[in-house]
């Protein structure tokens, strides 16, 4: 499987926790940005590659003229061999996409929508700097349904300042009642350079401690499971058959080609990324720059490590057969020490047929395990 990622670095307003590559107030640059992306796609050295997933993320892709997105998608189809059954996702925030816009996107062949809801509590939404209310979200969700989206994912956050387990449980209940096909539940991480980071370092922000955070996570896993959403990755839950194919590419060392500002790629054994800033990116593309130039091929050891620490994020774990097929080596030999340690001594890993996976109770401390797989 291979995918394409397109990064749209625009939004209406930065959320208080956001350290993504996204800029408010320069949406007037979106047209020239779109042109640059199309030019980058058309000149891609990976042209005509078979593509199974396309993911348009941000920022907020829906905060710009939908025709830009539609044109970009058309360019992708023109330059690549996009499968008929391909999963094509666009990210969307409530308040930036009305029914008309959603319908246009759906008609352009986008079949999956990922909506950033984060919480069902309006007070919390305000506190973390979201521009919408929960009602805005439900309106957006049902508009999307009416526009024909049958595969919708909803992003939620926990561990938010002032969030109680009651509020979190309430959000989970409300969302599962609305019934998207896919739910991502992320713990808030306070990143340097964000307003939250500033507030925290001045002691003006208090978030639930690790114990409370863990409790919220466990609540999500349990409640979602009860309502038919299986966890398939640390933070991702879906109804049967609705796992995000695009994200699975990341976790299984599949190839992906990134277009747009700051987009990351993994292709031809190399990892590389585009310039972050919008103008820098446009300039880079127009001067014929190519991100893969100068990128070094990853060593086999690095790839094997990635195979492990990315694959172990998945509930199904890593396949020994797959490993052998890919590297021509035995996983049990290459990772003898960490496998013995965690299969036999700590027993944080278990085998399941051909697969080795993290026991569910250790998913939330998986760094302790994964770091042993760095060789």
């Amino acid at each position: 499987m291979a995918g394409i990622y397109i990064h749209i670095p625009f939004c209406i307003k930065k959320c208080a926790y956001c350290d993504f590559n996204s800029y408010p107030d320069i949406r007037d640059m979106s047209y020239s940005f779109g042109k640059a992306v199309i030019s980058e796609i058309k000149n891609s050295p990976y042209k005509n590659k078979r593509i199974d997933t396309v993911y348009i993320g941000g920022g907020t892709p829906t905060c710009i003229d939908e025709n830009i997105l539609i044109d970009i998608l058309a360019a992708v189809r023109e330059s690549f061999d996009v499968a008929d059954s391909a999963e094509i996702t666009v990210e969307c925030n409530p308040g930036t996409a009305d029914f008309k816009k959603l319908l246009a996107l759906r008609r352009a062949g986008i079949d999956r929508l990922s909506i950033g809801c984060q919480s069902a509590d309006d007070m919390l939404l305000k506190k973390i700097g979201r521009i919408h209310t929960f009602e805005d979200f439900t309106n957006c969700f049902f508009d999307a349904r009416r526009a024909g989206f049958e595969n919708i994912s909803v992003d939620l956050m926990f561990g938010l300042p002032g969030q109680t387990s009651g509020i979190w449980r309430d959000t989970l209940r409300k969302i599962t009642e609305i019934g998207p096909e896919h739910i991502s539940a992320y713990s808030l991480k306070i990143e340097e350079g964000t307003p939250f980071f500033e507030m925290k370092s001045r002691g003006k922000l208090s978030v639930p401690d690790d114990d409370a955070n863990r409790e919220m996570y466990d609540t999500a896993v349990e409640l979602l499971n009860d309502r038919g959403y299986c966890r398939y990755e640390i933070s991702n839950f879906s109804k049967a058959g609705f796992e995000s194919l695009h994200n699975l590419i990341y976790w299984t060392l599949g190839e992906y080609i990134g277009f747009g500002a700051g987009a990351h790629s993994f292709a031809g054994g190399r990892r590389f990324s585009n310039p972050l800033g919008v103008s820098d990116y446009i300039e880079f593309v127009s001067s014929g720059g190519r991100a893969e130039d100068g990128a070094e091929r990853e060593s086999e050891t690095d790839l094997m490590c990635e195979f492990m620490f990315l694959g172990l994020r998945l509930d199904r774990g890593v396949s020994e057969r797959e490993f052998k097929k890919r590297f021509g080596k035995d996983m049990r030999g290459v990772f003898k020490k960490p496998l013995e340690k965690h299969l036999n001594v700590t027993r944080a890993l278990e085998t399941d047929g051909d697969n080795i996976k993290i026991r569910p109770e250790y998913t939330y401390v998986s760094n302790l395990i994964m770091s042993d797989f760095i060789l």
């Binding site: 401390v365 998986s366 760094n367 770091s371």
Partner: protein, 601 residues
């Protein structure tokens, strides 16, 4: 061959930092033994570590030629002595090779514990003491008071002591004049059978062991066969001669009164024991010189490579160090927690630290060391006596009749305002008070009998912090004494960790076990599961702490496939784990094994 009247054999004695090495350098410089360029390095303290710590570990000797004001030329043999209590025996042998000693006293700090200890040693050998007051140009200098101290405390005339600055080269010549004037020339019978005192040795890859001796009686030439009187080993002499600052000067013969070297293709320093007497194999002396002692380790500790694969490197390194350090003992041992390593015996704590640091620096080894232990005597119910320096080897309580532990006589010099605080400290360490002497109006010497195993746990640190660094401390072995000792085991996740066990007095087991459990709780990071820490004596749990399970250590999603950020985080975490030891199912930081030393009691 020189006229004995023109020879002076002397040492310099001082407290750490009072400027012994600097004075030695100045003497060398002034007698032309050193060029300015060579002066950049302190010749006598030629190990990097010694320079950094400002102490001399191994004795060295050098001959200086000085033309005195009386017009004659003198051969001054300077025998440098180690400045620390751990090396007391070596100091005593160096002093036995001399007729006099230059006593360096810091003009600001005055007389300290080691000044006194070394001066007493010099008195024991009937040495002529030449007092010198150093650092005279420092703002805090109080030469008149220090002169008075020398008279009051040591009981020698301090009035004519040269006031010098070794650092800035003030009045150095006066020191040389005093050496010539006050220190008597050596005596001895050139025609008597050879008696040469070994005061040091050095391993040279080409010549074998170079033996430093003071010839007391008789003479020696190359080709003669010599015998070490204590060990009985015999060798054919290859070369004899004198020790100069820039190397060795061969001679046809060395004779009574001289300080000299001998080489005889000796392969191991074990054959050359400091304090032993060298004589000729035929028609040798019937009686050895007095004072020889077998050097005994006082402190033991397990030394393990942090990376088990470097076990052989560690052994090679220890063997190399042992070439020049007869006091270092080691034998292979195995720990369940730490794998393959060595049980090492040291003269004392400083010696231990020096060896550990040299292993890490000079041989680039990463070490895990276990808490130091002393040597206990276990008298078993069947009457046999067992020496135990490793808690792991302690027999079952049912097999033990009783145990004995080493007791030292400790002397602490302190400004009087700290007396109460020091007494409290010593009593807390099971010390028994002997007496207290007023050295002058301000300072006292406190004498205690103390179990050595109480000193090897952070006693120095505790003493320093209680006296703001003003107290100084010295000790010597006194005796073995019956004591109620128990083995304290630490259990992690229910499993005893051998490398964390130690032997402790029964009364101290509970508080120490509790402290130890608390300390381990601090240093052991949260893990995948809850880790109980228990302290146990004879199977009975006396303290318990818990390291809670890690609740959250996870990476959120990777935005747009940015894997490298994730990777960096995991790499950092992995790097942190390198300082960890997997002990059973628990990851223990290597510092934990030394943490018993820092219990802040």
């Amino acid at each position: 061959m020189h006229s004995r009247d023109n020879i002076r054999n002397f040492s310099i004695i001082a407290h750490v930092d009072h400027g012994k090495s600097t004075l030695a350098d100045r003497l060398l410089e002034l007698t032309g033994a050193l060029t300015q360029r060579e002066m950049q390095e302190q010749i006598l303290d030629n190990m990097e570590l010694e320079r950094e710590r400002g102490i001399t570990i191994k004795a060295r000797a050098v001959r200086l030629i000085y033309k005195a004001k009386d017009g004659s030329e003198y051969y001054l043999n300077l025998i440098d002595t180690p400045g620390h209590v751990d090396f007391n025996y070596e100091v005593s042998r160096s002093l036995a090779a001399c007729e006099g000693a230059v006593l360096v006293v810091d003009a600001a700090q005055g007389i300290e514990a080691q000044t006194l200890a070394n001066t007493y040693l010099a008195f024991e050998h009937d040495l002529e003491i030449v007092p010198v007051i150093n650092k005279i140009d420092l703002p805090g200098a109080r030469p008149d008071e220090v002169k008075q101290e020398i008279e009051d405390i040591i009981g020698i005339d301090g009035e004519n002591a040269p006031l010098i600055s070794a650092k800035n080269g003030i009045n150095i010549e006066e020191v040389l004049e005093k050496i010539v004037e006050l220190i008597p020339p050596p005596e001895g019978d050139e025609d008597a059978p050879l008696k040469a005192l070994i005061f040091d040795s050095y391993y040279d890859a080409y010549k074998g062991v170079i033996v430093y001796v003071r010839v007391m009686d008789g003479s020696l030439r190359p080709g003669q066969r010599i015998k070490m009187m204590a060990t009985g080993s015999e060798f054919d002499v290859v070369d004899v001669g004198y020790l100069l600052s820039n190397g060795m000067l061969s001679a046809d013969e060395i004779s009574a009164g001289e300080v000299a070297f001998i080489t005889a293709s000796i392969k191991s320093v074990q054959d050359v024991k400091v304090g032993d007497t060298v004589t000729t194999a035929s028609k040798g002396a019937s009686e050895a010189l007095p004072g020889y002692k077998e050097v005994k380790s006082m402190v033991y500790s397990g030394i393990y490579p942090a990376d088990g694969a470097r076990y052989d490197d560690l052994r090679d390194a220890l063997e190399k160090l042992k070439l020049n350090d007869a006091a270092l003992n080691f034998e292979a041992e195995t720990s369940i927690a730490l794998g393959f390593g060595f049980r090492c015996g040291f003269l004392g704590l400083l010696h231990m630290e020096i060896i550990q640091e040299r292993l890490e620096r000079e041989f680039n080894l990463d070490l895990v060391t276990t808490a130091p232990s002393v040597e206990y005597k276990v008298i078993k119910t069947d009457g046999t006596v067992l020496s135990v320096d490793n808690p792991t080897n302690m027999p079952e309580p049912s097999e033990i009749d009783y145990m004995e532990e080493p007791i030292v006589r400790a002397a602490i010099l302190t400004p009087k305002e700290y007396v109460g605080s020091i007494m409290e400290l010593c009593q807390g360490r099971r010390g028994s008070y002997i007496d207290m002497e007023y050295l002058d109006t301000n300072r006292v010497q406190l004498n205690y009998m103390m179990p050595l195993n109480e000193i090897i746990y952070d006693f120095f640190d505790a003493l320093k912090s209680r006296t703001r660094g003003y107290a100084s401390f010295d000790y010597e072995f006194e005796k073995y004494q019956k004591s109620e000792l128990v083995k304290l085991d630490m259990l992690l996740n229910g499993e005893p960790v051998d490398a964390l066990s130690f032997i402790v007095h029964k009364e101290r087991a509970y508080p120490r076990g509790r402290k130890m459990a608390e300390k381990l709780k601090e240093v052991i990071p949260r893990q995948l599961f809850e880790v109980p820490i228990q302290a146990a004596v004879g199977g009975k749990i006396i303290a318990r702490e818990t390291v809670k399970a890690m609740r959250k250590d996870v990476l959120a999603k990777c935005y747009g496939g940015d894997i490298s950020r994730k990777r960096k985080l995991l790499e950092k975490q992995k790097e942190g784990k390198k300082r960890m030891r997997q002990v059973g199912s628990v990851e223990v930081p290597q510092e934990a094994f030394m943490s018993v030393l820092k219990l802040d009691e």
